[in-house]
Subunit: 551 residues, 2 copies
């Protein structure tokens, strides 16, 4: 379907190039602003309007490709194996079903039917949007998806370090650490020149040191008693000692993840659930003419070199029947570990080798419904953010929405790698029991099943989810074979026939922005406005740093 006027993207907000250039000069390349992406891609008409494109997978990347290609005039069909759009962007609500592959039989089995109350949801996939993920933010603005702040950290959040039997509030750990480090550095400053005096003054403010450069009062860590009129002014909590802090190993819980670039404030979330984004993408792709076929499981992909130009032929099962579809281009967002087990013909040996290299990360989440927001009570006063623990649940997310209301949902676990493998190996009921115990180490209320009902808990082990088999590719920039494979997968097969897309082949694995970035990239390769061959030097993303932070 050719684009009509209603499919034309609205103009971006006006820009003042002069002011912008001045600003850039003033800030000295202050950050991501200066160069790079300058707005949604402004794409030309395709060389042959109406040319067929087959898109495999209706996740964030597949839907973005379907939208972008359809709106400029390609004839897109999306084949999606499951009965829903979104892929790993997975919001669960009452009645939603989850499936995992049974370890023994290898067959998918239903693990949960969500029993949240009406109006509640949990994001089991992506759960937040960094402020510098401009593609995600841009699509939300374009499609009218309302956003609200996602709170990554509050000083009321808790940390339960490996070598401590009880949790501590973030404010005590963060501020006392800053204070002790500043005081220790101040001790080493013996000079009295102007520069050193300035450093001392910086340390005084940085660490809340007293006038002697000591960390004697934990001014920023809260009070033993709340202030009250007519009472002595509240007594600060005593500082934790440096030995207590270091001995606790608190930083090994990913406590400082909120400092890393992907998780710095501001972050956002769609009002009502992350799947508002994929729903909007699917709706807009359909409006632009794309055909979305659900329940279509791809079994074979062939690049037919005998035709001119070459084409792709895809075989899929739908409703018990085997069907085929052909197209000039095929864009596959199928995760590499899944693609490996799909029949392929006409692919290069280099591509086949590349497919074998990267594994997907093991990762699990847990969703809880709580009948009362006990974490907002005076005992803890937590409104959003994350508590960190050395328990297998790794982290506990509080809702960044519905503050002060009655019920709420929490992310009761989000873990990785070996921890996720062991956790995901448990039957779902046992996973919930373990997750409850881990959360109860932070909030005793979790032990109360009337407050946090067992039958409303829900878990997912992404590495066991059919058609996904993991959270994101484990790219490792230190591995030569990863560099070779990543480079190969950035380039289409069969000339310009078969393109791999998704966060899996983007600089931002595990993030929706990466999926959109890759889909826009592939769209531009198909159009010929982006080279189809990639220079040799391509840096492989550090998946661990980008999904778990500096650990």
């Amino acid at each position: 379907m050719p684009p009509t006027s209603e499919h034309v993207r609205p103009s971006p907000p006006p820009e003042e190039p002069a002011a912008r250039a001045l600003y850039d000069a003033m800030t000295g390349a202050a950050g991501p602003a200066a160069t790079g992406w300058t707005g949604p891609p402004r794409l030309p008409e395709p060389p042959r309007p109406g040319e067929k494109v087959l898109i495999l997978g209706a996740g964030v990347a597949g839907l973005t490709a379907a939208y972008e290609l359809s709106r400029i005039g390609y004839d897109c069909t999306v084949l999606e194996a499951t009965g829903r759009v979104g892929g790993r962007s997975r919001t669960v609500r009452k009645g939603d079903e989850l499936y995992e592959i049974d370890d023994r039989t290898g067959a998918p089995v239903r693990t949960h039917t969500c029993r949240f109350d009406d109006g509640l949801h949990a994001d089991l996939g992506p759960g937040r949007i960094p402020y510098h993920h401009r593609r995600v933010l841009s699509y939300c603005r374009e499609f009218g998806v309302p956003l609200e702040p996602y709170v990554m950290e509050t000083t009321a959040n808790l940390v339960r370090p490996p070598h401590l039997s009880h949790p501590l509030p973030n404010r005590r750990v963060a501020n006392d650490t800053r204070g002790h480090l500043a005081a220790r550095l101040a001790e080493t400053l013996t000079a009295d020149d102007a520069f050193t005096r300035e450093v001392r003054d910086l340390l005084r403010v940085f660490g809340a040191l007293d006038d002697n450069g000591k960390y004697s009062v934990a001014q920023r860590s809260g009070h033993l008693h709340d202030p009250a009129a007519g009472e002595p002014f509240p007594v600060p909590v005593p500082p934790l000692t440096f030995e207590e802090l270091v001995g606790s190993g608190f930083w090994k819980t990913r406590f400082y993840q909120p400092l890393d670039h992907p998780w710095q404030p501001s972050m956002f979330q769609p009002v009502g659930g992350m799947d508002r984004i994929v729903e909007a993408l699917a709706r807009q792709a359909r409006v632009a003419g794309a055909d979305l076929v659900l329940g279509a499981e791809v079994t074979d992909i062939a690049i037919t070199a005998g035709t001119d130009p070459p084409r792709a032929r895809v075989t899929y099962r739908k409703g018990g029947r085997t069907l085929t579809a052909g197209a000039r281009h095929c864009v596959s967002s199928i995760p590499v570990p899944v693609l490996r087990s799909i029949g392929r013909a006409g692919f290069s040996t280099a591509f086949e080798s590349a497919l074998r290299v990267v594994e997907f990360e093991k990762t699990c989440k847990v969703g809880w419904q709580a009948e009362r927001r006990f974490w907002e009570d005076d005992g803890t006063r937590i409104y959003g953010g994350i508590s960190w623990t050395s328990h297998a649940i790794t982290q506990l997310w509080y809702p960044s929405t519905g503050y002060f209301s009655g019920r709420g949902t929490l992310t009761g676990a989000y873990n990785f790698a070996e921890v996720a493998e062991r956790f995901g190996a448990l039957p779902t009921g046992e996973r919930l029991a373990v997750a409850r115990a881990g959360a109860a180490e932070l909030h005793p209320e979790f032990a109360d099943e009337t407050l946090v009902p067992q039958d409303k808990g829900i878990t997912i082990a992404w590495h066991k989810v059919p058609y996904q088999l993991g959270g994101w590719p484990e790219w490792n920039p230190d591995r030569e074979d990863h560099r070779t494979a990543y480079h190969r997968l950035l380039q289409p097969e069969g000339g310009d026939v078969f393109h791999v897309t998704g966060d899996q082949i983007s600089p931002l694995p595990g993030w929706q922005e990466g999926a959109m970035m890759s889909a826009q990239y592939v769209t531009q390769q198909i159009l010929g406005v982006m080279p189809r061959t990639v220079r040799e030097v391509v840096t492989v993303p550090d998946s661990v740093a980008l999904t778990q932070g500096l650990i």
Copy 2:
């Protein structure tokens, strides 16, 4: 009016004492939770239901006292000098008028009529609620005032330090400082025992150091280019040198204020403006039977010792007439500098001395309407938070609401003391010109009057506002005369006749929580459930620390 069932406060949410105690034990007195305020005061019936109370001033404290005293059965009349409730809780919208005292004539003159577009507002008084200000949060919950997150800091906010001609983003300054301080401390660690190795590991994560303990790559400070598929992975911005950071004097701009206890996340704001709170208080006080009299300017206050029990008699002007009112108790939230110039009879010499001690802080704010949210553009990507500058405007607040929408309002200045005195001495047009220039040093777009219209700008110098004469009392805990005065003002005059209330005589000057705390305290003194005499040792709050942070 006696209380009826509809005035009975709903029960607080259920508490699990056992779980709470366990939690407290686990967290080791983790903060404000453990003791102190345990919920809204549960007040008994007054000794003489229907007994008259005169409340002077309909700000946060006066309205809280009116609500609390009325709902338990006192007969309350509130005399408010201005034509509106709220006092320093001041939200301006289209058509609202501001007045200041003319320096030459000493008479109030209208300085502004607000010309914001419909639906926009600015808070010229309190603008945020800390998560530990439980009285404010509790009243909001009780009265159904919806709250949303107030964002104090994002890493995209700017700082323009005293010794630097251009602004820098928060993320570069904050993360590069942390990195350099960590690296310098790591350099001093020569031992190789287990503890020192742990400290090195802490420093590595704290400062994002490389494996050699150096701060070589500014991993957390953003990227020169945004990531793009098929491109080399984004290059981090180069670190600022330690000499650049220290030389800039950035911390002298109050850059670290968000670390101090009052401004730590979470913070909240009422949806639609801070005056939603005083409106709700006024409505509920009226429902509980209080009589709110606007435009009633108090001229004389007498404590009549000749009666038994003693009473208060208040003379006020309203609509050109002079009226008097008598009551068993009088609760005055009139700011001390204003109270000084009101006629008084029957007050003790100790009280008279106390009134002369404390001055109110000079402080100004500016409100701007911007026709487009240019700060959210790719150049800066600021969504809420505060930019800090050594310019007289001191700080620039971005709206914590309406993200991604069209227009928005900003707080274009919030300054203190000598800076505010000089700024407030300017005619309002010049104030706006200065504020525009200061903001344009952060965002060149401010220079564009089509983007930030001059006639929609608004300013206030609180120390020149009639019936206010300042922002909050400048209590100084180091001053003996302040200790004496503060102690005196905590106790009623004439036995139990005349009570001073407000944030001015609370542990939290400058905060609504202090006003509510004081009003609840006075209410309990009147009821006799709180002693009317105060033990000698009362710590005076440090007003500068509580309103401006560690500077």
